[in-house]
């Protein structure tokens, strides 16, 4: 059987592309808010205003003649990431882990020259990677340092955590682990491993690569059953706070853990994909329905996170009903 029956998928609550575009994106994401997340510079400023940690900005470039100054900008930094400001789906991101003179080394170990970087920057400025091919800007960021927690679970890259936030409530999470096949990129259809994360505990639930279940990382051979995302509550709070920050009702929040600076938001996505359902072996629809059934949205991200953890945990026992009562009795105090 190569095809699933639509009836079964529906009973699992799997959301398809059409449903996502129609029922989630166009319903919860007003068009005029898109630039806030499509433009990574704006997102960064917004996050900084909200007191959220983001990777340090080393420099930006807007015009082709700025390319000449690239060497000067890059000189003091041994490690950096070059990104298109309006890029999508991880396109056009160039990571350099070390350089001396005219030798710039990529995570895979390949070395390129300044001329290659200049061409890359020039391509970005021409709009090669931007949505709709519009002229773009380039931003240069400091490189994120791999948190030792994930050292065993990533290969030549930094894993990132994707949390889907609906109306401010985190509803599903997935850890994307880089592999040799994905060329150090945390991109599922290039071969990265997607690990479904339990909303309640941050523990790994299932993992998939190329849509098929895997139980250990293909390069490091570590089994995922040991994997627990640290600072889980804090990560969920960060993600939930992005709702107030952007106003977008259906949001994909990409978070990385930096060895030195802790959790950072690297990107927000107004059109998050659906592979997260495969990684979690669960559909989004029941969780969306649970949130949509709420009469009013908690104004405090902290309370929303607790609600989500209680509601969507794979181990419901961890959050006894008492907690729920506490929440409802607590909330008026916090509001007043």
């Amino acid at each position: 059987m190569f095809l699933a029956s639509a009836k079964k998928l529906r009973s699992f609550g799997i959301i398809g592309m059409n449903q996502r575009n129609f029922g989630l994106i166009s319903r919860y994401n007003p068009r005029h808010l898109y630039p806030l997340v499509d433009n990574k510079l704006k997102t960064k400023l917004l996050a900084q205003q909200a007191g959220i940690t983001v990777p340090k900005l080393l420099g930006t470039m807007e015009y082709q003649h700025d390319v000449k100054s690239l060497k000067e900008i890059l000189r003091p930094h041994a490690q950096f990431v070059i990104k298109p400001v309006k890029g999508s789906g991880g396109k056009g991101i160039l990571v350099i882990t070390e350089h001396d003179h005219n030798r710039y080394v990529k995570p895979s170990g390949d070395a390129i020259q300044l001329a290659d970087i200049e061409r890359h920057v020039s391509n970005i400025l021409s709009g090669l990677h931007s949505l709709g091919g519009k002229p773009d800007m380039v931003m240069i960021e400091s490189l994120i340092q791999l948190d030792p927690v994930f050292a065993d679970f990533s290969y030549e890259g930094i894993p990132d955590l994707r949390i889907i936030v609906l109306k401010g409530y985190p509803i599903m999470a997935m850890l994307r682990l880089t592999t040799h096949a994905s060329d150090g990129k945390a991109n599922l259809h290039q071969g990265a491993v997607g690990v479904g994360i339990d909303m309640g505990t941050g523990r790994a639930l299932h993992a998939v690569q190329y849509g098929a279940p895997v139980s250990y990382h293909p390069d490091t051979r570590k089994t995922f059953s040991d994997l627990v995302v640290p600072h889980w509550d804090k990560l969920l709070r960060l993600a939930a706070a992005c709702y107030e920050m952007t106003g977008l009702g259906y949001l994909g929040v990409d978070i990385v853990l930096d060895r030195d600076q802790g959790p950072m938001i690297i990107e927000l996505n107004a059109r998050p994909g659906l592979s997260i359902q495969v990684a979690n072996f669960a559909g989004l629809a029941p969780r969306v329905a649970a949130i949509e059934a709420l009469k009013n949205i908690e104004p405090d991200p902290q309370l929303r996170v607790i609600f989500s953890q209680q509601q969507f945990s794979a181990e419901p026992g961890r959050y006894p009903p008492r907690q729920l009562r506490t929440r409802s009795t607590d909330s008026p105090k916090i509001i007043t």
């Binding site: 095809l3 398809g16 059409n18 090669l128 259809h189 359902q277 495969v278």
Partner: protein
């Protein structure tokens, strides 16, 4: 919910309008729904010969009446040096040729092309009859007539059966004395017709002579056949005076009603008239367009047919685009095929229409393949983006030129059609594929390239379908139906076919989890 209802009302209105207009054109204007619908067009030539005496000549000739269900495409009146006019007295149309002096044998022609509309019910003549004129027979004949009518009346039930019985009695092989007396020895067709009309008049039944022509292909020297039309129950019924059958025979053109002469020649003698008939087969659509244009039907006056032929041909292409768009919508929303560029497949399909399928695909693959090779070299030259795209355009043109020239030298004419491919689109495709190759690897290039080509081929197959081509051009209002479909598809929130594959591992996992 309210928005959804509003959309469905809109869809309903658009679809209703589209189908309604189509129905109107089909039923009221007679547009056929199939391109293969053909009709026989009869060309009838009436030749009038007479010998002129050297005096002023007037030739008056009855013309067939115009009717709802037959369309007169063309009427020609040819006769050298004669003045001509068409008269329309209440008794029927007549053609009149005139000349101050003429002598010797003279010939005039009248040519008519007609076809029958098949979807309009033939309304019978319902004009009110005049009070039947009692004929004045001499005593002997009157007695014979009365006896005959008494016999017929006793054997009939109503006017219709009476008429049929009367005709049958007159045509019987073993005539009684009365019948022989009434019919005369050498009675002509005309005499018999008049006799029937007169006998019916004695019974106070209104009747009139109808002359008409049997339409048979390739007939020459035909003459008109006489029928009797009887006013029964508010309408005129046609009876064959030799068999008593009622109703208009198939392929029969009524030429003249009433007792006026068919042909009057003043200033000539030995006048003769003969008809020849030729049948031609024409596509119904051409006939209808011509007829509607002639009649200045409002819907036609503001239609594509009112444009010059060149623009019409352009529109033939343009009106196919919505079909391509519908295919793309289906392929992307229902099937979930990924294409490079949303509507690029339609443009490729348009090019395929010009080049034919196999040639087109080979050319497309050759141009894009060669383009990708050259583009991979260009990427090493470190060019700015816009300059590189422009370079690719020039490369594409060079490839096209070489394909044309080489194929011409090899004698492969088909490959010359390479020029129909949109160059800018090809250049963009090459550029996008090349970037895709660098970033996502060749697999993604084949998926998206293959998806685009597959969509283009399916769109091509639909767009070249004879019936679809015919319907889109002749019923542009079907575009509204298409629009309604696209609006409905825009509401589809179910799974795409490709997602059933994408999520299939999920199903297996969940099933095993439940066990």
């Amino acid at each position: 919910m309210y928005a959804k209802l509003r959309l469905y009302i809109l869809v309903f209105l658009i679809m209703g309008l589209g189908i309604g207009l189509t129905m109107y054109k089909h039923f009221a204007l007679g547009f056929p729904l199939s391109p293969d619908d053909k009709k026989s067009v009869w060309t009838i030539e009436a030749r009038i010969d007479f010998v002129a005496r050297g005096d002023p000549v007037i030739v008056s000739f009855a013309l067939p009446p115009k009717a709802e269900h037959i369309v007169f495409m063309e009427e020609d009146f040819a006769s050298p040096d004669y003045g001509f006019s068409e008269l329309t007295p209440p008794t029927g149309r007549r053609a009149q040729w005139s000349k101050r002096t003429a002598s010797g044998p003279q010939t005039t022609y009248y040519r008519l092309s007609v076809y029958e509309k098949d979807n309009i019910s033939q309304s019978l003549g319902s004009d009110l009859p005049a009070e039947p004129e009692k004929p004045e027979f001499d005593e002997v004949i009157k007695t014979a007539a009365t006896t005959l009518l008494d016999q017929v009346r006793s054997r009939s039930a109503n006017t219709e059966t009476f008429t049929r019985e009367l005709i049958n009695t007159l045509n019987t092989n073993t005539p009684s004395q009365n019948q022989s007396l009434l019919l005369n020895e050498q009675s002509s067709e005309d005499y018999k017709t008049h006799l029937i009309v007169n006998l019916l008049a004695l019974e106070n039944i209104s009747a009139r002579i109808v002359r008409g022509l049997y339409l048979k292909d390739g007939r020459r020297r035909q003459s008109l056949a006489n029928f009797v039309e009887v006013y029964i129950g508010g309408q005129w019924l046609l009876f064959n005076q030799n068999t008593g059958e009622h109703g208009k025979p198939k392929n029969f053109l009524i030429w003249q009603r009433g007792d006026q002469s068919l042909l009057d020649v003043v200033g000539g003698k030995n006048s003769q008239i003969s008809f020849s008939i030729i049948k031609n087969i024409h596509p119904t659509r051409n006939l209808v367009v011509r007829d509607s244009m002639n009649r200045q039907a409002g819907i036609m006056d503001f239609s594509i047919y009112s444009l010059p032929i060149e623009q019409q041909n352009a529109f033939k292409m343009i009106l196919l685009l919505p079909i391509g768009a519908l295919i793309v919508v289906i392929m992307r929303l229902l099937i979930g095929i990924r294409t490079s560029g949303t509507f690029m497949p339609i443009l490729i399909a348009l090019a395929l229409i010009q080049t034919t399928l196999v040639t087109g695909i080979i050319i497309f693959l050759t141009v894009v393949g060669t383009g990708l090779l050259i583009r991979s070299y260009l990427s090493r030259l470190n060019l700015l983006f816009v300059a590189r795209i422009s370079a690719v355009i020039i490369v594409v043109i060079a490839i096209m030129a070489s394909i044309s020239i080489i194929s011409n030298k090899l004698g492969l004419d088909q490959a010359m059609t390479v020029t129909f491919f949109p160059m800018i689109i090809l250049a963009w495709t090459i550029e996008r594929m090349s970037v895709l190759w660098e970033e996502d690897g060749p697999r993604e290039v084949f998926i998206q390239g293959g998806g685009s080509l597959l969509t283009a081929v399916i769109a091509y197959l639909f767009m070249t379908n004879r019936t679809i081509e015919y319907l889109t051009f002749n019923f542009p209002e079907l575009m509204l139906v298409n629009l309604a479909f696209i609006l409905i598809l825009g509401q589809y929130t179910g799974y795409r076919l490709s997602e059933l594959y994408r999520f299939h591992s999920l199903e297996r996992r969940n099933v095993s989890g439940q066990r």
